[in-house]
Symmetry: C2
Subunit: 141 residues, 2 copies
């Protein structure tokens, strides 16, 4: 990597900070989560607990799959289930100190990745768009 | 760009070819489109006409928004509407001859971009993941 000075930018400068990120809580009914996803337009958003710790990610596909019956989408069942029952909690995280290359590797397989502090509190997200914008700037030296 | 030899790879080597891409047709009812999106897990897929020309993109958000009433999601209305009524037809395309940098610029704001030939027939898609994987390889010279 001697001739390529990677973007010197770190997680903190790249990330969308937590107050600008749409999210839902563990105990929310799925109906609320689907409304947040449809109104915001996002495919998936972070799931936090009541003390603002990061717990996982939830998207439209798992919610709709959970109410897909034989004949139709049984939307009335959305009020019976909670976010923590269907969310994906096996997803990578980053820390504010991580470098650009670590961010690039993590977003290869994830449209966005959550940033947490050492105690697991939610700091924000890194999106593929932010990484791609930096790479495009960098390649136009 | 004299010291950076960009990935020599072109659209043809990067793209997912059309037979591996889930898609829907202009005249399909929204109910069918939502089922394809939920069963495949994709956020959005290309829309083609009956002669396999590319017409636009449709995702879960616009479909669910179109049936969101005051109190609930009125899913019974999904069989009344067609794909061409809600799809997004204002979306960029690429051609097999385009270079890597053109692909990178296009996916900054789009999770995937469709590849069409000179008459508008659908050839495949370029995804952000494919671009990010190449950039990651390239940065480890
Ligand atoms: N309101 C909007 N304005 C402008 N462009 C928009 C937009 N909503 C979506 N996009 C574009 O579409 C891409 C995919 O969005 P998606 O919702 O599938 O996937 C998003 C979403 O799941 C999540 N995300 C992004 N911003 C968020 C936020 N403020 N709060 C919660 N989640 C967010 O991160 C994923 C990747 O975002 P990324 O920006 O790389 O990529 C975004 C962005 O390029
Ligand atoms: N079955 C699967 N296996 C492994 N990983 C999966 C997957 N489905 C989704 N992913 C991962 O999630 C990312 C976002 O998928 P999404 O469906 O929101 O957004 C997708 C989807 O809307 C579309 N897409 C990708 N492959 C497709 C295909 N074969 N047919 C139709 N649309 C496709 O392109 C967007 C970007 O795809 P990309 O690969 O960059 O990014 C994908 C990929 O990293």
């Amino acid at each position: 990597l001697e001739n390529l000075d990677l973007p010197e930018i770190n997680v903190e400068q790249l990330m969308i900070s937590s107050e600008k990120v749409a999210h839902v809580q563990l105990g929310n009914p799925l109906e609320h989560a689907l409304l947040v996803l449809v109104k915001s337009g996002y495919s998936a958003v972070p799931v936090l607990d009541s003390s603002y710790k990061f717990k996982g990610i939830i998207g439209k596909t798992v919610i709709l799959n959970s109410v897909l019956g034989l004949e139709r989408f049984e939307m009335e069942r959305l009020s019976e289930k909670k976010v923590n029952e269907v969310m994906n909690s096996d997803t990578p995280c980053l820390n504010r100190r991580d470098d650009f290359l670590t961010c690039l590797k993590t977003v290869i397989n994830h449209p966005f990745v959550c940033v947490v502090d050492d105690e697991g509190y939610f700091d924000g997200i890194i999106t593929r768009r932010a990484i791609l914008k930096q790479l495009n700037k960098y390649l136009h030296v």
